[in-house]
């Protein structure tokens, strides 16, 4: 085998790629084709028929535009919340935490070590009607005597924010950590105030991290259904909830497949708009 490889050097990369790429082709690319095929079928379970049923798409948008819009609004708010909450924290870790850096980074990743569903369920304990947070807010009259946090839009968005926080924090940290401290010294030498140094040096240099973090947070958040299912009510249902229920409960595969494509298409549109705003070279790195 060694001598074969030596004689046919050009083949080596393809041999290395073949097993993995085949796996991705068969179980990622081809399934997308099946999803497209299924999305254009009509009929009732289990007798679906392929019929170029484009009305699945228009029906999907007509019946579920509310959940679609909600998914993007929730994901957008959660992404901004993640950015606002994460930036000062990773800034502090990168520039002020000194030898404790790695320990604090570990704290950022730590939620990932608790099963997603279980850490979301923990917010049920924290936000529970009989819990301390609701009690305090009721005493402070922020909430009315019957006011609650669970089963609200607030609960769902804060669940999403908590669950995707590390996706935002880590890329920003990486870009902050790469900043040469001499650049900041140079800014100070040139009489920049610390605010000016931050706005003119640190912030622009951390932009790639912000862009990466935004994508890593927004894309999975828009497709999420766990937070809405566990912390919300049907009034907070997102498009992921609808797709999941259509596949596994109402067995409307064509409807579920077309909604999946609509979600993907809308995310693509959002990405293009985002690329237009931040500049496409930043998006691809």
């Amino acid at each position: 085998m060694g001598s074969f490889l030596h004689r046919h050097k050009g083949v080596t990369p393809y041999l290395l790629l073949a097993p993995g790429i085949l796996w991705l082709a068969i179980f990622f690319a081809i399934p997308l084709g099946f999803l497209g095929y299924q999305s254009l079928q009509s009929g009732l379970f289990p007798n679906f028929e392929f019929s170029w049923e484009f009305s699945n798409f228009s029906d999907g948008i007509r019946d579920y535009h509310e959940q679609l819009v909600r998914s993007f609004v929730y994901a957008g708010i959660a992404t901004v919340a993640c950015l606002v909450l994460a930036y000062p924290l990773v800034y502090w870790i990168a520039f002020r935490a000194g030898p404790w850096r790695n320990l604090f980074l570990l704290c950022i990743v730590a939620p990932f070590f608790v099963t997603y569903l279980v850490r979301t369920l923990a917010w049920l304990n924290i936000l529970a009607d009989q819990g301390p947070v609701v009690g305090l807010l009721r005493d402070l009259h922020v909430l009315g005597p019957d006011g609650r946090l669970l089963a609200t839009t607030f609960a769902v968005i804060s669940g999403i924010t908590y669950n995707f926080f590390p996706f935002m924090a880590l890329p920003i940290y990486v870009s902050l950590e790469q900043i040469d401290p001499r650049l900041l010294e140079a800014a100070k030498d040139l009489y920049a105030s610390s605010t000016q140094a931050f706005l003119r040096v640190t912030l622009p240099l951390s932009a790639p991290g912000i862009v990466a973090g935004t994508l890593l947070t927004f894309i999975p958040a828009a497709g999420d259904f766990i937070n809405a299912a566990l912390l919300g009510t049907p009034n907070q249902a997102m498009i992921g909830n609808v797709i999941q229920a259509k596949f596994l409960e109402s067995l409307d595969y064509p409807g579920a497949a077309s909604l999946s494509f609509i979600l993907m298409g809308l995310i693509l549109v959002a990405l293009l708009v985002y690329a237009k705003i931040v500049g496409s070279e930043r998006l691809t790195g």
Binding site: L16, W23, L24, W92, V114, R119, L121, N125, I126, A128
Partner: protein, 287 residues
């Protein structure tokens, strides 16, 4: 700027400015600690409620401290099978995905070939597709080919390998990029063929990266719910089990298992941090 700043801005700054600067300095520290507290809070709650003796069906309100849940961690029907399935799928999928992903990473970093850009794209796409779409498309594949695929253990395995591979490629690639090619060329010059060179030189050098990638892959696998739930059929992994009980009542044993997974993962991560700290110190001592 209107005013001309002095040569030593720090020395000439007034008392108010200094108080403001110090407040700002500490405000950031206080904020950072609060933020870390926010991140830790649910974890603490999960662990705390693993020691709770719930009054009724619901484990939402603190009642009484007990070790019983830890001692009878498998007292709930189905929880043990679910954990075993999670571990089996996780180990198997991680081994296969690490092998496939490492080979792809080597091909991308070490070779120039037609289709390199496309390969990069194929690897990147699964990571940027929402999980629900990944799961949905796999499910339609399986549903339309029931003669070959029956939903269950193996469809979960297939799905996990698929979504882990990309993360393995990215992790191993990052390591390979800073890798000295001359070591391999030296081995070839000394008469080793490609396979021997790979086994004796390349593999030992990238082994740490493969281990890191494998750990990440395993963590992703045992935590995955969305894709698994769609393709699992009657099979239950631990997250799927939690989903099932979440609709009725979550027994404290779920907290026990989650806490145990957390503590094991944290122990591995802490060991890694410590090891990095040590080797950094050793490097400092050497120079």
């Amino acid at each position: 700027m209107t005013s001309v700043p002095s040569a030593h801005p720090r020395a000439k700054r007034g008392l108010g400015a200094r108080v403001w600067a110090s407040a700002k300095h500490h405000a950031l520290t206080v904020y950072a600690l609060l933020a870390v507290g926010y991140l830790m809070l649910p974890i603490a709650v999960v662990i705390l409620f693993s020691f709770n003796k719930p009054p009724g069906r619901f484990n939402y309100v603190w009642e009484e401290f007990t070790f019983d849940n830890w001692l009878d961690w498998n007292a709930v029907l189905g929880i043990q099978d679910a954990i075993v399935t999670s571990l089996e799928v996780g180990l198997l999928a991680t081994v296969v995905a690490t092998a496939l992903g490492t080979l792809i990473a080597i091909a991308i970093v070490r070779h120039r070939f037609v289709g390199r850009g496309t390969t990069n794209l194929i690897v990147f796409l699964p990571m940027s597709t929402p999980e629900i779409v990944l799961g949905a498309s796999l499910l339609t594949l399986f549903l339309n080919t029931t003669a070959v695929f029956q939903l269950g253990f193996w469809t979960i395995f297939i799905a996990h390998v698929m979504f882990i591979v990309s993360f393995i490629v990215v992790t191993v690639k990052a390591r390979l990029i800073g890798f000295d090619r001359h070591l391999e060329e030296a081995a070839m010059d000394l008469g080793a063929n490609e396979v021997t060179t790979f086994r004796k030189v390349t593999l030992p050098l990238i082994a740490p990266a493969m281990l890191a990638a494998a750990l990440l892959g395993f963590a992703l696998s045992i935590d995955d719910f969305v894709i698994t739930y769609l393709v699992a059929g009657p099979e239950q992994t631990f997250p799927v089990f939690v989903w099932g009980v979440a609709r009725v009542s979550v027994p404290p044993q779920v907290n026990v298992v989650a806490s145990a997974i957390f503590l094991i993962a944290i122990a591995i991560a802490l060991a890694n941090v410590l090891w990095q700290y040590r080797s950094a110190k050793r490097l400092q001592g050497a120079t």
